[in-house]
């Protein structure tokens, strides 16, 4: 049961108000994204959910439990949540297996049970064959999988992800995006995901919170946010976007109402929304060059 209620949270660093009167309620099992430019307070909000920062006022409930409020503060280690850090934070002195097994060891689970569960988790994040490797022998993407595995191993009801993909190259990023989404679907846990990348927010989220200067500018599904951005900050931050409906099938993505289709990842299928940025639309000039129609 991980419905999350955030009530009137305010956080200051010195005289600097980082989060002001933040209120939100996340439904159990949803994929929530905090989207915003760097310095907007989204990471601070996430860290308050985790318990690394203490709110100055307001309450946070995870499930039925008040974890932060007047006179109550549950430290992170007692909140029972999983988290993936931007820098991976994979422990360099432990091998992959031990990294992932750590939360289970803390729960004093018998060793063979730990073994079984770690191997299952490693399977989920596709690094079972690297179980005995040290982190320094892994690529960035593999290290991030270890971090993800570690966050999932204890089967938390809530998983927090702090810009987990920003250190990866473009191709890996796309792959991991898909996998995180898959894991979310499979484990049906509540995920809170922090990013500044709109396409990540767009493709993964159930609900997006656009955050600016410590406050929620707009909240809603990707289609709502992108299709109907609030005037002012949100529309400026997101830029213009063209939303078309489409359908993916056998590695082809067909845009509805048109005959044209394009290649896409074969793993995707079914009806979808296709977002096209104006600056990604090119025309072919007479001499065969690509010409960008809109610039940013």
């Amino acid at each position: 049961m991980s419905t999350i209620r955030i009530e009137h949270i305010t956080k200051k660093f010195g005289d600097n108000v980082i989060i002001r009167d933040f209120c939100a309620e996340f439904e159990d099992g949803k994929f929530i994204t905090f989207l915003g430019a760097s310095g907007c307070g989204k990471t601070t909000m996430l860290r308050m959910l985790a318990g690394f920062e203490k709110p100055d006022s307001g309450e946070i409930h995870i499930g039925d439990r008040l974890v932060s409020g007047e006179g109550v503060f549950v430290p992170p280690e007692k909140r029972g949540i999983g988290m993936v850090f931007q820098s991976y934070a994979v422990w360099p002195h432990l091998n992959v297996f031990d990294n992932v097994a750590y939360p289970l060891k803390l729960m004093k689970i018998p060793n063979d049970e730990i073994r079984k569960r770690v191997m299952e988790t490693l399977d989920i994040v596709h690094i079972a064959e690297y179980a005995k490797r040290m982190p320094s022998e892994l690529s960035g993407g593999q290290q991030q999988r270890v971090a993800l595995g570690r966050a999932l191993a204890a089967e938390p009801n809530l998983l927090l992800l702090d810009e987990p993909l920003s250190n990866l190259d473009a191709k890996l990023r796309e792959e991991m995006r898909y996998e995180i989404k898959e894991i979310h679907k499979r484990l049906k846990i509540t995920v809170v995901y922090v990013t500044h990348d709109q396409s990540e927010a767009m493709t993964m989220s159930d609900v997006i919170y656009v955050i600016n200067e410590g406050a929620i500018e707009q909240a809603g599904s990707p289609v709502e946010i992108y299709g109907n951005p609030k005037q002012g900050f949100v529309s400026e931050f997101l830029g213009r976007i063209n939303l078309l409906s489409g359908e993916a099938c056998d590695g082809k993505l067909k845009l509805c109402d048109t005959e044209s289709s394009m290649e896409c990842d074969a793993r995707f299928s079914g009806k979808t929304m296709v977002a096209i940025r104006p600056d990604d639309i090119y025309a072919i000039s007479e001499d065969g060059r690509f010409v960008q129609i809109c610039s940013k």
Binding site: A50, F52, D64, R65, L66, G71, V72, F73, V74, P75, P76, E77, K78, R79, G80, I81, G82, M83, F85, Q86, S87, Y88, A89, V90, W91, P92, H93, Y102, P103, L106, M107, M134, P135, S136, L138, G140, Q143, A147, R150, A151, A154, L160, N167
Partner: protein, 564 residues
């Protein structure tokens, strides 16, 4: 549910219990004795007065001493750091031949008592019959001796050879821990290796370099052995030799005068710490992050052989010569003759040190006292470094400051302050036990451990610890599972850095030992003072051999991970 929340609210935080415990320890065993002494200097006659200060600081000889201390420590710091940086880089980050060997060699001077080394340099470079002086004079056909050890320059030289290892150990540790991608990105942006070294490597190393400089300065300024042996004959007195002059008068006034003068060294240590904090500011570069990387080695190319030769020559001068002298002394009957003269070679001094019951007993005492001081000391350092680097508590810098001031305080002052306050008058009676020695050692030498752990900790990304916390690990668990293993190389190095000087500590042990707690330093002092330079040399040689073996064993056992 509600009751559970209540109990969570009132759980006392283990972390703060530990931190407060250690702060209390520092207050009782360090701050109180030293404050008491300073208090006495002001309230000597029952009422507040500046008389003792006025008397001390208006005496021209004392000003000369202050000046000498400032000059020698400043130059020792500059030279020490300038020597340590290239050596640390060559040994830590390049493919220099025999890196491992040089790494051991360059810390050797840390493992012998400075006064023994000072005697060796005195034999090599005295202006009348110095072995090296005579050799160079004949070689170069000079009219006079090229060097005079009894000069400010000579004092700086010997201080440098003994205190650069503090910088070398600190800096090379940081060099080896650095994330090479930071350098690689500079290379990729088109910077030459040399430019990268100056623009990236050294800048990233700045906190460690400043910490190293601080250590060298404080150690040189509060050193007594070297200035008393090298400085005194050339009439170069420092604050420490002056303090001992006052203390040995053995009167209450002498003690007040010594304290008044010692306040200068304490203030100096504080000032240096303050300046270094200011210089480094917030620039704590995190170089060990949760992203794991392989350490990279710089290829020296055509410079590999010439640099190896250069480093060898340097090692020979700074370590080979004096240590050969120490060993030669330990085998010589009559030091007026060559060791190779007929009948002048003997093993009897080695016989003495290995057969005398008291020496063996004292060695065991020293091992125990130094090991305990190093262990407790490093625990204090870890917790206080954590307080400094990982909490936002107000006044978190104070323990760091206390530890620095303790180190800057001359040994003799620490020992006397402890005698006055720890022999029952104020409810604590540990005089004539090993405990008082261990506490004295900790006050004097914790700084080495503190700096090492602090720089280890500030290179460690906070994420690594938070990751454990979110996994459900409480504070002690995180300390044990994540923080300690990751700073372990620093912790082990810090432990050794505390252990070594305690192992052969002389001044404080000499005042604090009792029949059952005689230490190696006391023995060494007795032999050094009562006519047996050779026995002292053999003892120092023995210490060096044992410590080197220990260090090598540690290296082998941990497959190169730990050693100093």
């Amino acid at each position: 549910m509600l009751t559970k929340q209540k109990s969570e609210k009132f759980t006392p935080d283990v972390k703060w219990l530990f931190i407060l415990g250690i702060v209390a320890f520092l207050l009782v065993f360090q701050v109180f004795p030293l404050l008491y002494l300073v208090f006495r200097a002001f309230f000597g006659e029952g009422h507040f007065s500046f008389d003792s200060f006025k008397r001390i600081y208006s005496y021209p000889l004392n000003w000369q001493c202050l000046k000498n201390t400032l000059i020698t420590s400043t130059f020792t710091m500059i030279f020490g750091v300038c020597i340590a940086i290239p050596l640390a880089w060559l040994v830590g980050r390049t493919n220099l031949h025999g890196r491992r060997f040089f790494r051991t060699i360059f810390v050797t001077t840390y493992m012998v008592p400075p006064y023994v080394g000072a005697m060796a340099w005195l034999r090599l470079l005295n202006p009348t019959v110095g072995t090296l002086n005579v050799f160079l004079k004949n070689l170069l056909g000079l009219k006079s001796m090229p060097f005079n050890i009894y000069s400010v320059g000579g004092l700086i030289w010997v201080l440098t050879t003994f205190y650069y290892p503090y910088a070398f150990i600190t800096i090379s540790r940081a060099m080896e821990n650095m994330d090479p991608s930071l350098e690689e990105s500079s290379r990729i942006s088109g910077a030459s290796p040399l430019k990268t070294l100056f623009n990236v490597t050294l800048k990233l190393m700045l906190p460690s370099i400043v910490a190293a400089a601080l250590l060298v300065f404080v150690a040189a300024a509060s050193c007594y052995g070297i200035p008393s042996i090298i400085g005194a004959p050339g009439k170069i007195y420092t604050v420490t030799t002056r303090i001992v002059d006052y203390v040995y008068v053995g009167s209450k006034e002498g003690l007040s005068d010594a304290t008044s003068l010692a306040v200068f060294l304490m203030a100096l240590a504080f000032l240096i710490l303050y300046i270094s904090e200011f210089a480094v500011g917030k620039r704590d570069y995190i170089t060990v992050s949760g992203k794991s990387v392989r350490p990279a080695t710089v290829d020296l190319g055509k410079w590999r052989i010439p640099l190896t030769i250069l480093v060898s020559i340097f090692a020979f001068i700074i370590v080979g010569l004096p240590f050969a002298t120490v060993f030669a002394t330990s085998f010589t009957v009559n030091m007026g003759k060559s060791i190779f003269a007929k009948g002048n070679f003997t093993l009897k001094y080695w016989g003495i040190i290995t057969s005398r019951r008291t020496i063996i007993k004292s060695s065991l005492n020293s091992v125990a006292a130094a090991a305990l001081a190093a262990t407790f000391g490093i625990i204090v350092c870890i917790i206080m470094a954590y307080l400094l680097k990982r909490t936002r508590a107000r006044g978190r810098q104070i323990p760091d400051f206390l530890i620095t001031v303790g180190s800057g305080t001359p040994s003799v002052v620490i020992a006397l302050a402890l005698i006055m306050t720890m022999s029952g008058r104020f409810g604590i009676s540990i005089y004539n036990t090993m405990a008082i020695m261990i506490i004295a050692y900790m006050i004097k030498y914790m700084l080495m451990g503190m700096r090492t752990v602090v720089s280890g900790l500030s290179q460690l990304s906070l994420d690594l610890e938070e990751a454990a916390q979110i996994c459900g690990a409480g504070w002690l668990r995180r300390l044990k599972d994540v923080l300690l293993p990751l700073v372990l190389p620093s912790v082990v190095a810090g432990w050794f850095l505390i252990f070594m000087p305690c192992f052969y500590e002389l001044t404080m042990s000499n005042l604090l030992y009792s029949d059952k707690t005689k230490t190696l330093g006391v023995e060494l002092y007795l032999y050094q003072t009562y006519h047996s330079q050779q026995t002292a040399a053999a003892l120092a040689g023995g210490i060096l051999i044992v410590v080197t073996i220990l260090n090598l064993a540690l290296y082998k056992l941990t497959k190169g991970k730990f050693s100093i």
